[in-house]
């Protein structure tokens, strides 16, 4: 109210002055200033005071905020206490239903080698990634024991802080030599290898083209990198080409940004989830056409594919230097623990300070590194082992064709195959239970199989429920025969 009063008064005063001014206007502009000063002296005190107040008021109006959100919204301490009192968090974890498959793990007594004792029953093992049978190999065991007697078990530190052992360096140089690359770097956990390697290079703003069937550790590495992720259809080079072309158009629009945006293609050599091989030669062509680097995850193909077990590069006869980074774990064919990355020093060396799983984690127990070295020795001494594995894989692949109700997923060369229901019931749980019944059925007949497990809500592209069939060199032809007929029998019994 006061404000309106003042403004009214102010207007009234101004009006008076303006009228006075108008009358004198004719006598010339130069008098205006003098007159104003004169008017100031002549004006009555109340007038000046009012005008002064008015000016101050205007200044205040100009500088004060029109609307004070915080002041009106401020909570009192008491209100805050009430809010705190009222708030109820969600439970830390939701309850897991009692029949969740993960709550009743199969228990393996003794080593999970060729003959495996599951839940007290001895079976032939078709469920461990022990492709070359090195898990209970005597030479590997002896080497591990010798190492254990020298170094003890743990390393008590990360690589930087007295956690580097001579065996680590030896294993790194042996791996580099085996793969015919300049350098290799080892990690103490297979899962962490590619998951650490990707974010070491690909940062925020960079672009990664990924096959949508990529395994979970790749997905986690991509998430950690905070890069832009573009998925292409599984093994579909046309789709990849389309994405790369789109990117090329983008680059033309913004060449300055394009000059600093790194691009990568991330693929698996032999896919964990689909058991097929990536078309590497085409990928390499794409690499040079679009200037994209290739990261290759070879956990399943290392020690399996190629004449000397060097993986998918050897399988296709691709120059290994054309692949920027190869990552693999030593938990499958090598039957130890940990993983490694290899490639040119220019690329690999960067991980020694930037690979999180390398820098911040305790190093690999020396005895496991020693076991891996011995496994490499065996692989180098006797490349026939890969021929044997290939033969077994092919024979299992062909024998499992035509199983009623079950579809075999994979390529003949893959030692890790999937058996999928031909007709899904539409419910994942029901399918899973059906497959489980098959696994139980064959395990009664002394064949060990397992169901492939996934985090159903977290997978980017969730594969259908399958039974894993893992081939190893130790399985004899009779055993394979037996297993296959068991599976066929079980499928008939369970599905029909």
């Amino acid at each position: 109210k006061l404000c309106i009063c003042c403004i009214c008064l102010g207007l009234y005063n101004n009006k008076n002055r303006k009228e006075k001014r108008k009358t004198k206007m004719a006598s010339g502009q130069q008098w205006v200033l003098v007159e104003m000063v004169q008017a100031f002296y002549e004006a009555p005190a109340y007038h000046l005071i009012l005008e002064g107040i008015l000016i101050l008021w205007i200044i205040r109006l100009l500088f004060s905020k029109t609307y004070k959100l915080q002041e009106t919204n401020k909570l009192t301490e008491k209100e805050k206490e009430e809010l705190i009192e009222e708030w109820q968090p969600d439970p830390l974890v939701p309850l897991v239903s009692k029949d969740h498959p993960s709550l009743s793990y199969d228990i393996v007594t003794g080593p999970p080698s060729h003959k495996i004792i599951i839940n007290g029953k001895e079976c032939i093992n078709f469920a461990s990634f022990n492709f070359l049978g090195l898990l209970d190999n005597d030479r590997v065991k002896q080497k591990a024991l010798t190492s254990l007697k020298t170094y003890g078990v743990g390393t008590c530190g990360p690589r930087g802080f007295y956690g580097t052992f001579d065996v680590h360096l030896e294993l790194e140089s042996r791996l580099a030599k085996f793969m015919k690359t300049e350098e290799a770097i080892i990690y103490s956990y297979g899962f962490a290898t590619i998951a650490s390697a990707i974010p070491a290079y690909s940062k925020r703003g960079d672009i990664v083209f990924v096959d949508e069937a990529a395994c979970f550790s790749i997905q986690k590495g991509l998430q950690a990198s905070r890069s832009v992720i573009k998925y292409f259809k599984h093994n579909d080079m046309e789709d990849l080409d389309r994405l790369l072309k789109e990117q090329q158009l983008e680059d033309h629009k913004n060449p300055r940004k394009a000059k600093v945006t790194r691009r990568f293609i991330v693929v698996e050599g032999l896919y964990m989830n689909t058991a097929d091989i990536c078309p590497l030669p085409e990928l390499v062509k794409m690499k040079y056409k679009y200037k994209v680097r290739i990261f290759l995850e070879e956990s399943l193909s290392f020690g399996v594919l190629g004449e000397h077990g060097r993986g998918v590069t050897e399988h296709f006869g691709v120059n290994i230097d054309d692949i920027d980074l190869i990552s693999a774990n030593m938990e499958n064919a090598i039957a130890s623990i940990g993983g490694f990355c290899c490639g040119r020093s220019f690329v690999i060396d960067h991980q020694r300070l930037s690979g999180q799983g390398y820098c911040f984690s305790a190093s690999l127990p020396p005895m496991l590194a020693a076991a891996a070295i011995e496994a490499l020795d065996i692989m180098e001494e006797d490349p026939d082992i890969f021929t044997v594995l290939r033969e077994k894989c092919t024979s299992v692949y062909h024998a499992l064709q035509g199983t009623s109700g079950l579809k075999l997923v994979g390529v003949p060369l893959s030692p890790s195959l999937h058996l999928q229901l031909e007709r899904s019931s539409g419910s994942r749980d029901t399918d899973q239970r059906t497959l489980r019944r098959i696994v139980d059925y064959v395990s009664l007949r002394e064949v060990a199989l397992t169901i492939a497990r996934y985090l159903e809500k977290e997978e980017r592209y969730l594969p259908p429920p399958t039974i894993r069939v893992l081939v190893t060199v130790e399985q004899t032809d009779e055993e394979i025969q037996k297993a296959v007929s068991c599976i066929k029998e079980a499928a008939l019994a369970v599905i029909s």
Binding site: C156, Y162, F216, K291, I337, M367
Partner: protein
């Protein structure tokens, strides 16, 4: 900046809830002296100038560039590294690279054998000289209880298990990698921790980074200590939750964040948070500080938050029974929702665990990335954990475990007291076996590490980015395997390691400043606060 840090330190040393502690909680830090700070910044300045100069010379081929280069075929690709990314590595780190990754060729026990290496190309590559430096005193390994051994009951048991099982597993826990030895180990771990159930993983780093995402997600808030380990940070980031950071071990800062979180809810939408998860570590490995657990638990209960406690360094190393920081403060393990820890350090093995309520563990068994996708723990490692843990618990029928615990605690007190008496600036809690000693200057990082090695002592030296830029330090990890004589050698050498590398002494006047905090009416004589200088 210096003043601000000093201020924050002063703040956080205020005793707020002395009644929650059952024993004195003494933790000391010292403000970086101004002169030191100025000199340190100058040091970095000079290094940077020379770095640019040398980069310039390399660019014009005046200096030979020995760094690995991109392949010629890929020269027109987008560069894999931005030039500035490697500036620090190229021009600062490489100069003193020989202080890290020193290869061992034996047990990382109280003494270790190091392969001697030289570099002929300014630390780009290293060659073995063929000689071995024997019996270097090991102040670097996290071998708190001295279980890194190649003889004795742990090694014997591990040998037997290797003979039986081999060294690998070739399967995940969910598929075919769940061995009887894993079941046995998990039951033991749960019993050791005093929790309902436990789950173990093959790698400590992954235990954090792959389980936090299973516990928190979108709409959850993670409150994380500013000095939390990289694995916790990664896990929090992968979870997709909102992350807010509180000042190191500062309960005022934590409480403010908790209150604000509940009162204001999620940003923009103002919906209430689904869960609040406080993530702290037991012992902070770079600071040597111990988490103020009684206060954290009080806050967690008051604000209905969940508590994730990473005991990587404290399990086995703290507490009268070696059961970590919970045991140290005499608290109930049930008050901590998620007890996480690693087996790498005190147990001389590898891997990590999570312990807690049965529902939690059941959930993790089915939802943890690690349990579903990663290969399970190798049997010899599992056996090492079982044997060392039963030893600590005294279930092996000997007092070996108790002896080690006592020895570690005595060693820690002795070593910290002696260093302080000598006047060095050391950080952290009086009971923490991690003893950081301040060096401040970048040049001293290399010099100290090398001089100590010359005197047959292996220490860890760390600088930026592992520490704030002006707070480079050396770190000693006290072990139960150290004898008093060993520790005396270490501190004796320190005095004579030459003025060049002598670490900065604490200022006498500062010792009585509020940077030493005492709790619960504990009284310390003025002598302890004003250590005489002639000790050095």
């Amino acid at each position: 900046r210096i003043r601000r840090r000093a201020h924050s330190l002063a703040n956080h040393n205020v005793v707020r809830n002395p009644s929650l502690y059952n024993k004195p909680f003494v933790e000391s830090y010292e403000e970086t002296p101004l002169l030191v700070a100025v000199l340190t910044y100058m040091g970095y300045g000079i290094l940077t100038i020379f770095g640019y100069l040398r980069d310039f010379m390399r660019h014009w081929n005046i200096e030979k560039c020995s760094v690995a280069r991109e392949r010629d075929e890929q020269k027109d690709f987008v560069p894999l590294y931005q030039d500035f990314e490697n500036f620090y590595t190229r021009n600062l780190y490489t100069r003193i690279r020989d202080n890290w990754n020193r290869p061992l060729c034996g047990v990382p026990g109280s003494k270790m054998d190091i392969v001697e290496q030289v570099s002929h190309d300014y630390n780009r590559t290293f060659q073995n000289t063929g000689k071995i430096m024997r019996d270097v005193i090991n102040m670097g390994s996290y071998n708190y209880l001295g279980f890194a051994e190649n003889v004795g009951q742990c090694a014997d048991a591990a040998i037997q298990v290797t003979e039986k099982y081999g060294s690998g597993v070739c399967g995940t826990r969910c598929e075919m990698g769940n061995l009887d030895i894993h079941q046995e180990m998990e039951e033991l771990v749960a019993r050791f921790l005093g929790v309902e159930s436990a789950l173990t993983f093959g790698m400590g780093f992954a235990t954090n980074s792959m389980n936090i995402p299973a516990l928190a997600g979108k709409g959850c808030l993670i409150l994380s200590d500013e000095l939390n380990h990289a694995s916790l940070v990664l896990g929090a980031r992968l979870s997709g939750s909102t992350i807010r950071v509180f000042k190191h071990n500062n309960m005022v800062s934590l409480e403010k964040l908790l209150r604000d979180a509940i009162v204001h809810g999620q940003p923009r939408t103002h919906r209430p948070w689904k869960k609040l998860l406080i993530v702290v570590e037991g012992i902070y490995s770079m600071e040597g500080s111990i988490v103020r657990l009684p206060e954290v638990i009080a806050l967690k209960k008051r604000y209905k938050a969940f508590l994730y406690l990473d005991e990587a360094h404290s399990i086995g190393a703290l507490g009268p029974n070696g059961k970590g920081v919970v045991d140290y403060f005499g608290l109930d393990p049930k008050d901590v929702d998620i007890m996480m820890g690693t087996f790498t350090k005190s147990f001389g093995a590898a891997g990590g665990y999570i312990g807690g309520k049965r529902e939690l563990i059941q959930y993790l068994r089915s939802h943890s990335h690690s349990a579903v996708y990663a290969t399970s723990m190798p049997p010899p490692v599992a056996q090492q954990i079982i044997t060392s843990m039963t030893t600590i618990m005294g279930e092996d029928g000997t007092s070996l475990g108790a002896d080690r615990l006592r020895q570690l605690s005595e060693n820690t007190t002795y070593f910290r007291r002696k260093l302080r008496e000598m006047g060095f600036i050391i950080y952290g809690n009086d009971d923490s076996p991690v003893v950081p000693m301040m060096l401040y200057m970048p040049a001293k990082i290399g010099a100290f590490g090398r001089e100590m090695l010359k005197r047959n002592i292996g220490t860890v030296v760390v600088g930026f980015p592992a520490t704030p830029i002006i707070e480079s330090r050396a770190r000693f990890c006290v072990s139960a395997a150290h004898t008093r004589e060993t520790l005396d050698v270490v501190r004796g050498v320190r005095g004579v390691s030459g003025p060049l590398v002598r670490p900065w002494k604490a200022r006498r006047t500062r010792r009585s400043s509020p940077f030493i905090r005492l709790t619960k009416g504990s009284c310390v004589s003025s002598k302890a606060l004003h250590p005489s200088r002639h000790g050095a």
